[in-house]
């Protein structure tokens, strides 16, 4: 299948790659199908989360574990059930990245990570009860 996006250009993908966020992301509840497009620049740990239902909607995602030493939270039982997660190995975790005008103020959202079951491609944005920031600066000491 093919999708022409504003930002990434033409993408080819297969049905098995399609991520399903049954409830959408917060603020985008109508949009449920996404694709992760890996950054061709391998040294860059930022990838694209592309909506398949709105070609203009592209988020930048990254692994939070690259930027924080400690990131632990409980996965609510209901979420594990809904995503059919059985073990830790089933899970991929991503954070949405906000890149403002001042690049050194780039942040990742640790309060509401994306949880994905890598086997069945079901995903959900979780709101953590644990105290994590909405905006975690990735350049702690500036650039």
């Amino acid at each position: 299948m093919k999708l022409t996006t504003d930002y990434i250009g033409e993408i080819e993908y297969s049905e098995e790659e399609v991520l399903i966020f049954e409830e959408g992301l917060y603020g985008f509840s109508e949009l449920k199908k996404y694709l992760i497009v890996l950054n061709p620049a391998e040294e860059l740990p930022f990838h694209w989360l592309q909506s398949l239902e709105d070609e203009r909607l592209t988020f930048i995602i990254t692994s939070p574990f690259l930027f924080v030493d400690q990131y632990d939270f409980d996965l609510p039982e209901m979420v594990a059930e809904a995503l059919e997660i059985h073990t830790h190995e089933d899970i991929d975790i991503y954070s949405l990245t906000v890149i403002p005008e001042k690049i050194q103020d780039t942040t990742i959202n640790l309060k509401a990570p994306l949880i994905l079951n890598r086997n069945n491609k079901k995903g959900k944005q979780l709101i953590l009860n644990e105290e994590y920031p909405y905006k975690h600066k990735i350049f702690a000491k500036g650039i």
């Binding site: 930002y7 992301l25 917060y26 603020g27 985008f28 620049a41 040294e43 860059l44 930022f46 694209w48 909607l57 592209t58 988020f59 930048i60 690259l66 930027f67 609510p76 039982e77 209901m78 949405l96 990245t97 906000v98 890149i99 403002p100 005008e101 690049i103 050194q104 780039t106 959202n109 309060k111 509401a112 944005q125 709101i127 909405y134 905006k135 990735i138 350049f139 702690a140 000491k141 650039i143």
Partner: protein
Amino acid sequence: MLILTRKKDESLVIGNDIVIKIIELDDGKVRIGIDAPKSIEVHRKEVYDRIQEENKSARESKNKLGDLAVAMSKKPSK
């Protein structure tokens, strides 16, 4: 908006399986107990709003990824 008056220890029922109880009243603060099925998510409204807002600003970030790449190549940071 439906507005009702409740006293301490009184409750409301929403639908068939959500019960909201006033636990404690103290100096402008209210403690509320919520009994709802596990599948119903309950969040503080300001948290919910803030995450929507963060997501909306996240969607604007794609155009700046090139600049971020340049910044990171200068100095990777943890």
